[in-house]
Amino acid sequence: MNTDRQPLIQLEGIIKRYKNLTAVNGVNLAVYPGEKLVIIGPSGSGKSTLLRSMNFLEEIDAGVIRFEGREAGYVHRHGRLHLDRQQVVCPLRAEIGMVFQHFHLFPHMTVLGNVMEGPLTVQKKPVPEARAIAYDMLAKVGLSDKRDVFPATLSGGQKQRVAIARALAMRPKLMLFDEPTSALDPELVGEVFDTIHALADEGMTMIIVTHHMGFARELADRVIFMDGGVFVAEGTPQEIFDERMQNERIRTFLSRII
């Protein structure tokens, strides 16, 4: 990879504990601009936790997160890490788009309202500008005709595409996807996959946690296999899928999935 450039986001020794359980156990990772990283691994291996940490939705217990080279989001107090003030963390989050498994659209706003919400409330853009951006983004995900309906009337795939548009409207530098297709009916996976594929083709930096190996095979620059809170294997899709012999755990895992 582009080791000569500065990583967009860089994790050093990230540890996250829940009571008696260490969900992420010292992860190091550097993602470079334009890179498409896919993380796979069994349930409970810490994939979501890691992704959420990158967006400061989880407060990590140890480690350093660098965003565009600068240490970001944490202060030391009484010898422990603490999430920084809202004024610091919120702008950081605004630079990173996140798409959830269950969409989490705002049900009380129309599709257009959902997509405009970030620019309006967080970036304080004037309504016409926010609307223009929202129109663009909805066109990009192919939902221009659904602008004025409420999310409740959409299919799962449409919902997820709105969620992607909502995140894109903030013009993020990095997109995080946490199992974006797991809650969809099998037939609806395709449309969301296509949308993300198009986004990748535009050069967006993205990290995708998924159970659908299609993402890993067709989209990834790099695939990481995670288990028990650590990276067990890392490589190009070819390395991970074709040369399976390299790791027993991956082999078992993949045999169950496909």
Binding site: C90, A94, M98, F150, P151
Partner: protein
């Protein structure tokens, strides 16, 4: 046996009375009254009437007590014998002399009513009571509306306070909820109205009532709103944060608006209860619907006032329920497919 005795006694009394008249004894009202009572005690109502009739009207504007009493007693006796006309005549004798005598007036009014079909009486009562009840109903409405305006705001503040991670604030809000939900509104109103003056704060009844109801319902709504906020799926807060919103922005733009629909039913229920709880402000001397009805009942000894009040309450609660359902429907319009 007893009847015979009573007849003998009556006869004797008449003899004695006759003797008194013959021998020129003055018709002493006191004695006559006592005689009549005795006859009544023996069940001889007609005899008692005769005796009482002998009590003369007061001479020249003097005290008419004995006369008034006797005529009213005569009226009552006639009434119980079913002789309405004679009863009325006796009572009107009193009114001729003392037009304001309330006892006679009441008597005439109720005897006249007795003769009419029930629904006429009822309708007349309605018309008679309506002005006072309407006034009370307006006060009830005023109190309800004030509380409906105040308590959601107070409730929201208390709810946010309870959810605050800053302990002193959440503890204070817990205390407010615990205290105001734990003691009867009646007592609270009492302390606000009668107790605060000793701290130098003297409130008008309306102010005290609005504060009492406002704080009480804020405490109730506080718990409900907190429940509503907590019932919003956690993912909504996550999504808002992921967009870069602050806690305040997320609450204001994302979380709280979603509670409206699901809060309407429990809040509507509270407000329905409120309509009836306003009746308690009569403790601090405010005349609202219940008090007005009770006063009418007390004054006229007439249950119609209470029946009317029940009907007005039903109308209020039904109309409010309808409004709340409409609001709930509109608040949840985005959930319809």
């Amino acid at each position: 046996m007893q009847k015979t005795f009573s007849r003998v006694a009556t006869a004797l009394l008449f003899l004695w009375m006759a003797a008194a008249v013959v021998f020129g004894a003055a018709a002493d009202p006191d004695r006559l009254t006592r005689q009549a009572n005795e006859l009544m005690g023996q069940g001889d109502l007609a005899g008692a009437v005769e005796v009482l009739k002998q009590i003369p009207p007061p001479a020249g504007g003097g005290e008419g007590e004995a006369f008034v009493r006797s005529r009213l007693q005569i009226a009552r006796l006639h009434f119980s014998l079913g002789e309405m006309d004679k009863a009325l005549a006796a009572a009107r004798e009193v009114l001729a002399l003392y037009p304001d005598n309330s006892e006679a007036k009441n008597f005439v009014a109720s005897v006249e009513q007795e003769g009419q079909p029930r629904y006429v009486t009822f309708l007349k009562d309605c018309i008679r009571f309506l002005p006072a009840l309407a006034k009370g109903a307006v006060m009830t409405l005023l109190l309800v509306l004030c509380t409906i305006v105040i308590s959601p705001i107070g409730g929201l503040l208390i709810a946010l306070g309870r959810l605050s991670t800053f302990r002193p604030i959440s503890a204070a809000c817990w205390f407010v909820i615990w205290f105001f939900r734990g003691t009867p509104l009646l007592l609270q109103l009492f302390f606000i109205y009668y107790g605060l003056p000793s701290l130098g704060i003297t409130l008008s009844p309306l102010t005290a009532a609005v504060i009492g109801l406002g704080v009480n319902y804020s405490a109730y709504l506080g718990e409900i709103i907190r429940g509503g906020i907590q019932s919003i799926e956690h993912g909504q807060m996550e999504a808002a944060k992921a967009l870069g919103m602050t806690y305040g922005q997320a609450m204001r733009r994302v979380i709280i608006p979603q509670t409206y629909k699901r809060l309407m039913p429990p809040i509507g229920n509270e407000f329905i209860a409120l309509i009836k709880d306003t009746a308690l402000v009569s403790t601090i001397a405010m005349v609202e619907l219940m008090r007005a009805a009770d006063q009418l009942f007390n004054t006229y000894f007439n249950v119609t006032a209470l029946v009317l009040a029940a009907i007005v309450y039903l109308v209020f609660t039904t109309v409010f329920t309808f409004i709340f359902e409409k609001i709930e429907y509109r608040a949840g319009i985005y959930e319809h497919r």
